[in-house]
Symmetry: D3
Subunit: 311 residues, 6 copies
């Protein structure tokens, strides 16, 4: 490799200037604080959870009812430890942020204990989560004529992938776990192109087909048996600001979608008070900011097309 | 790590309840069956194939005509073994699903023999596949003024990445290989945001620019020299149901795009009987459900814009 | 594994035919040339750079002002070596392409020296880059009511991820480094669904929310404090061709967005002469090919919706 | 990298000559045969077995009686699969060698079935093996005043490492498994410098201190509570040849060491009919080829030393 | 893989029997206790330390005085964390063993604080350790006519490897760190065949040539400039037992070797009161249990050889 | 992890003191010099070479005459590149050492060219090397009644492992390649406990049984069909010093062993003028410093043993 050492010594001055910038621009560092949760470990946790939720599809083969208990028991045990550590870090992070303290060693055991309680509460939610995910798999099979069977859906449908991570992240959101649900949902977003905020409330038998570009906001409420296509946005209409001009955080900003609704590709539905009534159908590219009653079919008046001969 | 053993013992009961759910909710497990194809191995196979199709760009450097035969011969030999095993698993999976049997050892050699035949048929398709991919690379260069050369396209264009995987997956689809083509196409989808069903029939010199959000359905037929942009959907208009209300699978549900057509961003073309005639141009955001003759330029009557001064 | 050797010998003939195709279809190989830059190393470089730009979030924990100098100095030193090698390869690639020569050993040291100069120029840009990225982080916090704090943004916002890579790639684009900026931007595109050409000029305090499907073209010029949403395209209107019918490369083909503009989801703004004036707001799904003056709010005349009762 | 292609083409001729040598010197290849057992997998198997035999010391922490069943059950299940495959390969190798056949597909299932039976027979031996290894650990503690406790012995005594592998390999030797026991014992030899043939019969409470250079032959028989030091050889006196001058294989060629014997460093005891009687002590560097009765202390008449002043 | 499930279910019973054996044979498990130090991390620590002691030879290249501070500072910082954790585990292990308690959470911070103090004390010893290791390297060069230079010694002499680990382990032994020094010395033993107890006191300029089979006991005291060859044992003569027949631990059991002594291959020197006087030479295969004065040359009266003609 | 930052800041001062020691103790650093050969790459090279010398035993399975050419050709091609780089580094290292220069960029291409020539000369030696290794394998089978076949020897005999590395290292020694042969031989030493200097001249059909502790010196000359056992030393009698008291390097210091000689365990043969005549047998533990004529059997007058009853 090149070796003009005078040039290289110049790098030492650069190092000093970069480190100085950590003082000047202090809010995009994480220096002198307790360790944050680890993105890499959180992704591992998601992979372990998928092995439990859908056993036999990926990492481990030759599973049967005679050996699956060992496999699951061992995973659960390892997850208990990983989750406890990551949750303790997230809870302490939130505490330090709130009280403006640097990492100290006090309360260490308290955060580990709280992390462990949260880990167990979370793990206890898995059997019910499998029940609801089974309805999502079935909904995908019923909704896509190209699907050859349930296994294909579990193996490769990005919509199911996104919903699996969402149901995990939403459980943690409801447990008020900081930071971790969002790390999970953005990892899923990067894998699938589907962006579901962990706060969204989504009923069983939910199916997203193709999925790229879907956005589902934090305060959405979605009923049973809803089906949506690629590019659908369930978003906020505008953001309320308070008297000081700051964004108001925490209100319902995203729509309600009732049972049995179908929303076709690239439709946009906005606003916290917008309700799409039961069994309604929203056509492709529709742009809605108001509620519709149940059993309504909404389509756009297709813009007129201009055709001319270019030959 | 935390060590309150009473809490941990609670996990044993949880393990039992999860395992019980494998009996109650039996259709999202793969227990007691023959091994499925491995997603990880299939991704490896795709990476090996790209080394053969575009030698010298990625894993291996310093290749020249004097040593490339060894490199390719060794890859082909390894691919023969990997493909044989994965194809045998996919074929046996299909058989077991069809006849409702658990994994038994009968016919083992039959499936391996069928897997090997399919592997060789597939590998024999590679020279012709390179010819058609060379037309795709050329089409990208001709179609994008930002491209500095062919190497940049091979190195980093997601549209070419998607088409490379598609031409592989489509070959296997035509060989009626179960499950594996879909695993391939969804892996490509997660990498590129471009969702092409392995069944789609696509002619040479095809170019997708930018690509995020593109959806191309199973029964599409696309001619020579077609060019499409991000967000384009070539989809189904609606799904036919039979008398029992079940989806009819296997009919032509997606459009036909003839030679030389250009389709701009976010256009949507739907329906199995829709034909876009030769050399036509479909404007951005157009929504088509009917055929147009050759040499037609279709644009939307842009929705009127309302401008108001907000200052 | 299967062992019918006659079938396997058939593979030798296939290998020969594939290698023959490297002669016949010679432009999608890289045989007999100098090594190209390595995609894998370039991704490593990006990960190292993120450790320097946002220390303490990912790979390394327990950093504080007392030890961060060692950590950064060691990374800078390693980056110097990696960048020098990759830049030398890219510069030599460009030279060989231009002069049509195969890889020879002459000028080797010249390219390494030029690579090293470029590496140092690039590394010197990091302190200023941190300053501008801090404004992007702040803009995200101000723009998204769902954000819990700056750390969440650094940890998981795809818009920030895309802008971080863009500001790196754009620096190299301005240094006229071949190939590498595009490898970087397409890697970011595959992670985030956000496609920003390295050539785009983007001011501070830029925020992309959700982001999937965003396309920003090479000759865009974007001011300070601009905010855009998923699916926004800032593209070319059409491509000029010269008298021989070849695409004209190098002109300004993409729009100018002035300070403080907000562009909502799926809006499309096209053309090199289109200017969106300061503090204007472009509504969702708007399709613009003309300039608007400052302080303009543009919304589409929403296409009429047809509602019918389907019950 | 260097690129004088003429020199490189010379490599092709070399490759041909090497491959020709595979025909001419055909007995140090393994070409055209069934796969051999994999050394790497066998080493993995040994590591898994050590986790079962001594749980909690290495790979996995935080084990307790509440979770260890899952951990062990999962390991046993995985070992069943790995052992079955490796044993099937070893048995088939032996068959092909004996009958002079190349790898064919017949009897495939027979070999897997025999491999599985052998795997289960082997796994069933583990509880008894733990009992005897516990006596070895205790013997080490009693025999070495430098040992701080049992954990130190399990963690780092090479003598225990060698005996653990030996008791595994000897079990397989008694099951007449080809090739694999020797691969195991030579792996242990390379780790510890202790060379014990898998065929050696060794009673409980055996302790090897330091160990480097110890050699224990195939037909040794060692009683209970024996202790040996580094450099001890328990070997063959000479090899019998038959009338044709070939070595006679399979007779007892190595000594018998009765209960309670201690053999100090570098002693050499040779011959299949040599018996060291109960509770005897063999001094350092003694060279024995004859039996001694019980309770005998054997020391060498130390060779006279010559001392001279070199100052 | 084989799939006779009845056979596999037999494995469940086996698992239960193995777990039962953890109760019956309870002293070769580590269940329900605090985590032990990790062998894998300790080996990593040794590799990091060698990078600091001999910079530029192995992992990292292109080091020079301009960048080595970052490299070393970063390694020291990481070592502080790893050592603190491992030392805390070792200290707690010792405490739990002594007081017979299972792992509880009390005193956690005390052990970490003690671990950190020990880590800093250890790291502070490194500059002096480099000084003494430089004398060992020089001694090897002076002692071996086959050595081409100092770099060859640092790169590949097992004697230096063993002494490097010994000087590290001995520092920790003197700090009374439990378990870890022995894990280090046995790792070195397995790499080099040289077995030096961490307790041995060894002066500067020590050289071991070839080394396989060397054993140096815990209470050895070795002066300056000593040189020994392969197979040399510096051991205990016999073990004292107390009135109850238990081994007496902690007395001086191994010899004293004064300055300038040379001991040739396979010599054995035993006994805590044996002193080899300054500048003496002990011949190959000599067996000493008594002291010799300074400047003595000791050789064996070579055993008479019997020569007979076998032709 | 612990976080008393005052203690940690103390580490910065320590870092400075360590770096200062790189100036004070300057001869055990490699700072400011060209990169040395890489031990890790050299071990990789040895593993690649074993795949070529004994194809089908380890990394790659399912090789047959139809595909082995690709496998070998690809390995040879990769080895050419790796060897060229490592040899260039070793040659430059020698040059810089000799002329006392720090790493500069001049002559870079000269060293690469010399490295490449040496690489090709080395690779050309492989076919003949296979011929001689085949005689070593046969000698092991003939010499060890415990061997079940040639495959067992190739798979796990440490003596063959040591000889394979030796024949490689000796070829490079004869090519006068600096440093690398010694790195190879010491790696082999650490794996097998057998220490053969790369300079030793060893004829065909050589067999080392068990092997731990064997030492064979640089200027040994060993004939055809020689067999030796564990612990045998073929060493130097004493080292000549010149008038200045420096060791004389480069004379014949180690013995000559003629064809057909057998040397039993722990025998020691010393001196450059010592010749063991054809077909002689040297008994275990014999200590020779003089020549013996052909066909001589040498045994020690076994030291008298003292037996006493200890019961």
């Amino acid at each position: 490799m090149a070796a003009d050492f005078r040039l290289k010594e110049q790098l030492n001055s650069l190092t000093d200037r970069i480190v100085d910038s950590y003082k000047d621009i202090g809010n995009i560092n994480h220096l002198g604080h307790c360790p944050l949760p680890s993105s890499a470990v959180i992704v591992d946790i998601l992979k372990d959870l998928k092995e439990i939720l859908y056993p036999g599809y990926r990492r481990r083969q030759n599973l049967h009812m005679g050996n699956v208990t060992y496999f699951v028991g061992d995973l659960i045990d390892g997850l208990h430890d990983k989750l406890t550590q990551q949750f303790a870090r997230a809870l302490r992070y939130e505490y330090d942020l709130k009280y403006g303290v640097d990492c100290d060693r006090r309360h260490l055991m308290d955060f580990e204990a709280r992390g462990q309680q949260a880990a167990i509460e979370f793990l206890e939610s898995l059997p019910a989560m499998r029940q609801i995910l089974a309805t999502d798999v079935a909904a995908a099979y019923e909704g896509d004529p190209a699907a050859s069977g349930l296994d294909e859906i579990i193996f490769c449908y990005p919509g199911l992938e996104a919903m699996t991570v969402h149901r995990i992240a939403n459980q943690l959101y409801r447990q008020e776990m900081p930071l971790i649900p969002r790390i999970m949902s953005e990892w899923s977003h990067s894998q699938t192109g589907i962006d579901i905020h962990p706060g969204a409330t989504i009923g069983p038998s939910f199916f997203i087909d193709h999925g790229t570009g879907v956005v589902i906001g934090e305060t959405c409420v979605i009923g049973t048996g809803v089906k949506i296509y690629q590019g659908v946005t369930l978003g906020a209409l505008s953001f309320q600001k308070d008297n000081d001009g700051n964004l108001v955080r925490g209100t319902k900003r995203h729509p309600t979608i009732e049972d049995g609704v179908v929303i076709y590709a690239n439709a946009t539905i906005l606003g916290g008070e917008t309700v799409i009534g039961t069994d309604s159908v929203i056509g492709a590219s529709v742009w809605m900011t108001k509620s519709v009653p149940p059993n309504t079919v909404v389509t756009i008046e297709t813009p007129s097309l201009r055709l001319r001969d270019a030959s």
